[in-house]
């Protein structure tokens, strides 16, 4: 039975909130590619909402005033990234950013949570870095608004998950950087000619795994990795190993 079909059988459990985070991520990936499953889940979700609505109760007195007071001082979230086909302009801009002294090596497509999990289980080392990477990945994958990006990464593969301003990068089967060097993440603003913003260096988890977890991402930025001296640089000193996104 195909994996999609297996996942499709989870649509009911998904709409009822009865799946774990990894399963939820698998279903969401399916929904991106299968209009049929998406339509089904949409109606299931509305159906589940009816079950919820039937439980309506008068909220406690004071709740309304408390909520309205809180929202008056609560900033609204910025509009989320949505995965779409590259427009010519957008891609041209990205290339021109990259061409300003940097080389685009590869941008892949279609990372799935399943791929991630398969790769994790291969790389599943009983060490702390792997556990941390795993936990961070599961956290961001659980965000319904998160975006998945995918790139070839030094002989292996990188999955990047953007959740709000947080970015989690996981590389698998990646060649180790040269002695004394580390992979470093950069955020590249969409403005032409803008300098890449330095971010974290990636931690090795053993067995070709590299990961990083950071905040500071802003909508529209591309994500890139270079090879830098251990500890990282303020400006890229190598070609891009990969660039993905925005």
């Amino acid at each position: 039975m195909s994996e999609n079909r297996e996942t499709h059988m989870l649509t009911g459990a998904y709409a009822l909130g009865a799946v774990d985070d990894i399963e939820a991520a698998k279903v969401r990936e399916l929904l991106r590619t299968s209009p049929e499953a998406a339509a089904e889940v949409r109606l299931f979700t509305e159906t589940a909402a009816r079950l919820g609505e039937a439980e309506a109760m008068e909220p406690p007195p004071g709740m309304r005033a408390a909520v309205l007071a809180e929202i008056a001082t609560t900033r609204q979230a910025p509009t989320v990234l949505a995965p779409k086909r590259a427009s010519g302009n957008r891609f041209a801009r990205l290339v021109s950013v990259a061409a300003a002294g940097l080389l685009v090596v590869a941008v892949g497509a279609g990372a799935t949570a399943l791929d991630f999990r398969d790769r994790m289980s291969e790389a599943q080392q009983a060490n702390q870095a792997t556990t941390q990477a795993n936990e961070a990945m599961i956290e961001v994958l659980a965000d319904p608004g998160r975006q998945l990006l995918d790139a070839e990464f030094a002989g292996g593969h990188a999955t990047l998950v953007v959740s709000g301003d947080r970015v989690v990068v996981l590389g698998t089967d990646v060649e180790a950087p040269p002695e004394g060097k580390a992979y470093q993440l950069w955020m590249i603003p969409p403005t032409e000619g803008a300098a890449p913003i330095p971010s974290v260096t990636l931690t090795a988890t053993g067995d070709g795994g590299f990961w990083g977890d950071t905040g500071g991402y802003a909508v529209g930025q591309a994500l890139a990795v270079t090879v830098e001296p251990v500890g990282g640089s303020q400006q890229p000193t190598s070609d891009l190993v990969f660039v993905a996104g925005a």
Binding site: M9, L10, T11, G12, A13, L16, G17, V19, A39, R42, L43, F44, E46, T47, A48, A49, R50, L51, G52, E53, A54, E55, A56, M57, P59, P60, M63, R64, A66, V67, L68, E70, I71, A72, T74, R75, Q76, A77, P78, T79, V80, L81, A82, K84, A86, S87, R90, L94, V107, A109, G110, G145, Q147, L148, L149, V219, G220, A244, G245, A246
Partner: protein, 212 residues
């Protein structure tokens, strides 16, 4: 190419179209009214949000309370949900479903997150045992002004097989995963997955949930 672009002008365009619709066409369905209110909320309109609060805080609080049971905790979570709706209004996409569906999904997710994170599984087994399914099914909640909906849901649940109904109720109201439902009911996992799905298909058809 793994390339994403921000929600572009078409989101804004959709917003402005419905504003015009609102002006030209005063008779809106409840769903359309809520969509228009969400769009205003997304632009920071607190009055519009207050109307959303008035329309949906009852269902939100009731659902959270059904899952969590504890009134104080339920109020805390329901408040968080309403504030999250305010924060995330900018990201609501009416093409993906109704406002009510969205808000109750957020409420349900928050409630079960609370159940799953705050309590050990043994604690939960004590809190909601299988016996509560029957009780809950017969129990009429302290409903406010929505007898029709309650009756419709009860009637639809009544059409399900016992296994479908128990599985759906443990999953949705109990906050159990399909694995836990399978353990609780002593039924194979594959069967539970199928029963949750065909149970929802049945409920969807019984309640006439369409593609509006």
């Amino acid at each position: 190419m793994a390339v994403v672009v921000p929600f572009s002008s078409d989101r804004r365009r959709r917003g402005s179209v419905s504003v015009q619709t609102e002006a030209a066409e005063p008779v809106l369905s409840e769903d359309e009214r809520l969509v228009a209110l969400m769009q205003r909320t997304a632009r920071g309109d607190q009055d519009a949000f207050a109307e959303i609060y008035d329309a949906l805080s009852g269902p939100v609080y009731g659902l959270v309370r059904r899952v969590l049971r504890d009134p104080a905790q339920s109020q805390e979570v329901a408040q968080e949900v309403m504030v999250e709706i305010w924060r995330q209004a900018t990201r609501f996409d009416s093409a993906k479903g109704s406002v009510k569906g969205y808000v109750l999904t957020v409420a349900h997710r928050r409630a079960i997150d609370r159940v799953r994170s705050a309590q050990s599984s043994t604690d939960r087994e004590m809190r909601v045992g299988r016996s509560s399914v029957e009780r809950d099914y017969d129990q009429v909640s302290e409903a406010v002004e929505h007898k029709m909906e309650v009756q419709q849901v009860r009637r639809a649940l009544g059409v399900l097989t016992t296994l479908q109904r128990e599985a759906v109720q443990l999953a949705y109201y109990g906050g159990y995963t399909h694995r836990e439902v399978s353990d609780l009911l002593g039924v194979p996992l594959g069967t539970i997955k199928t029963r949750l799905r065909d149970g929802l298909i049945r409920l969807r058809d019984e309640m006439g949930v369409g593609g509006t």
